[in-house]
Each structure stands twice: as C-alpha cells, then as structure tokens.
C-alpha cells in the first residue's frame, strides 16, 4: 500500500501518519466525552459484591505490604541519618569548650505512613533545662524579592513569621529543641542538607518546599510555595535577634 522507495511517497506517508495520529487523538477525546456525557449512568453502576470483595482483599493486602516496605526503607535511611547527625553534633561539641557543656542531641526522625516526625532528644547524661528554654528569637535577614512580613504569631514557645507576596506565602517557625514536628512526607522528596554547619532536611512535594533544621537550642521550619534554592538562601540568612 505504501511505497517507501519513492521519496514523494515517504513525505505523503508522513503527512498521512500525522493526520491519522490527530484523528486517533480525536477518537480518544470522543470516547472520553461519551463517558462524561453518561457520567450519571456510570455513577449508578454497582460493581458486584464478588468483584468489590476481591478488589478490597487484594488492595488491602497489598497496601499493608507496601506500607511495611516503605517503613523498612525509611528505617534504613533513618539509621544512616541518625549516625551522620550524631557524628555531626559530636564534631561540633568537640570544637568548643562551651559546647562540651551543652547537650548532645540525638536527632530522631520517626517515619510513619504519611508523616515524618522530627524531634531532638536529649541523650546526654545530665540535662540542662536552661538550654531547652526559649531564650532566643531568630528571623531571616534575606527574603525573596517582593515578599514582606505580614504576620507574626508568638505563643511563647513557638514563634511563626508569615511572609507574603500577593497570593504567594511562606512561613518561618521556630520552636525550642524539645518540640516535635509532624511533617507531611507522603510522596515527597526528602534529602539531607546543611544550613550553615547544622544538618537539616529539604522536603519537596510538588511545588511546595519545606526546610527543617536545628541549632543547639532551637528547631526551625521554613514552609511555602517557594523553590528549594531560594528557600535555602532564606534558611542560611537566619540570625538571632539582638
């Protein structure tokens, strides 16, 4: 039917292929339009009990298996993160006499099905309550162009600063080191980063970015629809209020 030996025929074939592809795409549109038109009828369809039951059994069984395997994967990561952070904190404390008196924090990352729990746990022999108390107030010195501080919430232990630019928004939250964070990490990319000399996590999910990190006394969270690179610059600019 198609004589490829003739150059003109080949050009014609290509043109015809393009046309057929366009008609094929239109066919898919027609089929889906038809289903949309009959949406009311489709919604009334009741799948048989046998089908529903077998689907429920299969997917539930599989969901449990997936949940188990996800936690398993995170557990491995968690062990690696734990060691790295612990080593990092030890290296900081070994550099400063003052730091030796400070607590050694065991960076704990607990991963549940959809949320990751971040907290700092005191594992030093003696606890120093004074260091856990909120005595510092931090704020970012660099913010993305066009953003302005719109709101500040101070609940004693927790301070949140909200920055906005039109409909865009990001927040900076600081808490004492004994706070717990529950962050949505389902289907998110989580990677270890450094903010200054402190380790933290960059969590990206679709176009939302979160940066979670800590210093010796506080934990910080930046959260908003800002690209990771920009938000990391904001994180690195955080200083203690004089």
């Amino acid at each position: 039917m198609r004589d490829k030996s003739h150059p003109m025929e080949t050009e014609t074939d290509r043109l015809q292929d393009t046309v057929i592809r366009a008609i094929g795409e239109a066919h898919v549109e027609n089929l889906l339009d038809d289903l949309e038109r009959n949406h009311g009828l489709i919604e009334k369809i009741e799948l048989s009990e046998a089908t529903k039951r077998s689907a429920e059994i299969f997917f539930e069984k599989d969901r449990r298996k997936r949940k188990g395997s996800t936690i398993h994967r995170f557990n491995k990561n968690r062990a690696a993160i734990f060691l790295l952070v612990l080593l990092g904190v030890f290296s900081i404390t070994s550099l400063s006499v003052k730091a030796i008196r400070t607590k050694v924090f065991d960076y704990v990352v607990k991963v549940s099905d959809t949320f990751t729990k971040f907290s700092l746990t005191d594992v030093s022999p003696s606890s120093d309550p004074e260091l856990n108390a909120k005595t510092e107030y931090y704020y970012p010195t660099k913010i993305p162009a066009g953003f302005t501080l719109m709101e500040k919430y101070d609940t004693g232990d927790i301070i949140t600063l909200i920055y906005t630019k039109g409909n865009e928004r990001f927040s900076f939250t600081q808490t004492p080191s004994y706070a717990d964070y529950q962050l949505d990490t389902e289907d998110a990319m989580v990677e270890k980063i450094y903010v200054g000399e402190y380790e933290g996590f960059l969590i990206t999910k679709k176009n939302r970015t979160k940066i979670f990190w800590h210093n010796d006394s506080s934990m910080f969270l930046l959260d908003g629809h800002v690209d990771p690179e920009t938000l990391l610059k904001v994180a690195n600019s955080v200083v203690k209020k004089p």
Partner: protein
C-alpha cells in the same frame, strides 16, 4: 481482581489500584454497552487491567487521559471480541463497510490539513463504519504500540493486526481523501 497478584512491582500496583478506583465503573459501563452482561463486563475490565499493567511504569501519570483512553480502548476491543464470538461472525463484512465510504470524499492531502478541525467528526464517522478501525489506528499512531504489542493487548495475532491496520488506514485515508483507489 486477584489476577493482579501476579504483578510484583509495588508502585505499579499502587497505580493500578488508583486506576481501578477511578475508572472501574466507567470501564464496566463501556463493556456492558457492547455485551450487555455485567458479570462478563467485570471480567473484561479485570483482564484489561492485567493487560495494561505491562505498559504502566513507576512514572506513569495515572490521572492523564491517555492512560484512561487506553483502558477504554482495550475494554472496547475485548468486549467486541466476546461479542463477535457470541455472534460467531464479524460485525459486518469489511468490503461492505468500505463500500459505504463515499468516493466523492477523495481529496488532496493538502485538504486533509484543512479538515483537521473536523477530526472528531471524522473519528466518529470511521468508528461508526467499523468499531475496529479507530481503536487499532489509535493504538498504533497515538500510543505508538508495535503490531506485536497490539496483538497481545487485543488477544489476536500480529498478522491479523497488520491486516486490520492496513484496512483501517486505507478507510481512514479514503474518508480524508488522501488515498486514491488502487484498482
């Protein structure tokens, strides 16, 4: 649904679950309209999921219309297979169908471009002439499946796919006016 237990990749299984929850009813509806048997329609939908699972990857966007369209086409084709087996005959003779295409629609390829705005109408027209044509052309030209893959998806032979593709292409071009009669 227990057929799905043969799929080992967890992410693909998760995608299939999402697809099943989103589209099972409309796929059963699609099949039911052809074979008029809910139980058989459910079986066909399950078979379609098994078939399409091979072509779903970890990065597949399950919410895109392309994958939805693929499921609909496979369900249609499998349903027509069942329907034809029941009737023990093909829908209509291919020759008879091609006779229904008017010769006065033979136009130059350039005219085809102008008529692309009407492509939905043309697709509908070709689909009404023969339910095989548009599905098989779509699998070939939109989904870029090889003849072998199409044969597996539709439970037929590669030779049969080639024959159907050739006829479908010819019929399509005849409607579009891009191919003159050979005889």
């Amino acid at each position: 649904m227990l057929f799905l237990s043969v799929i080992e990749n967890d992410i693909v299984k998760a995608h299939l679950e999402e697809l099943y929850l989103m589209y099972a009813k409309e796929l059963v509806y699609t099949s039911y309209r052809i074979i008029h048997d809910y139980h058989e329609a459910e079986d066909i939908v399950q078979t379609a999921f098994i078939k399409v699972s091979t072509y779903i990857g970890e990065n597949t966007d399950v919410k895109c219309n392309k994958i939805r369209g693929l499921l609909v086409i496979i369900v249609r084709r499998l349903s027509y297979n069942v329907y034809n087996k029941r009737k023990k005959q093909n829908n209509i003779s291919i020759d008879l169908m091609e006779d229904t295409i008017c010769d006065d629609k033979i136009l130059s390829p350039e005219t085809n471009i102008l008529r692309l705005d009407d492509r939905k109408k043309i697709a509908d027209m070709l689909d009404s002439i023969n339910k095989n044509y548009m599905d098989i052309l779509t699998l070939k030209y939109v989904y870029d499946f090889s003849d072998g893959v199409i044969a597996k998806l539709l439970d037929t032979t590669e030779g049969n796919v080639r024959t159907k593709l050739s006829r479908a292409r010819k019929a399509c071009l005849k409607i579009m006016g891009g191919e003159k009669d050979e005889g």
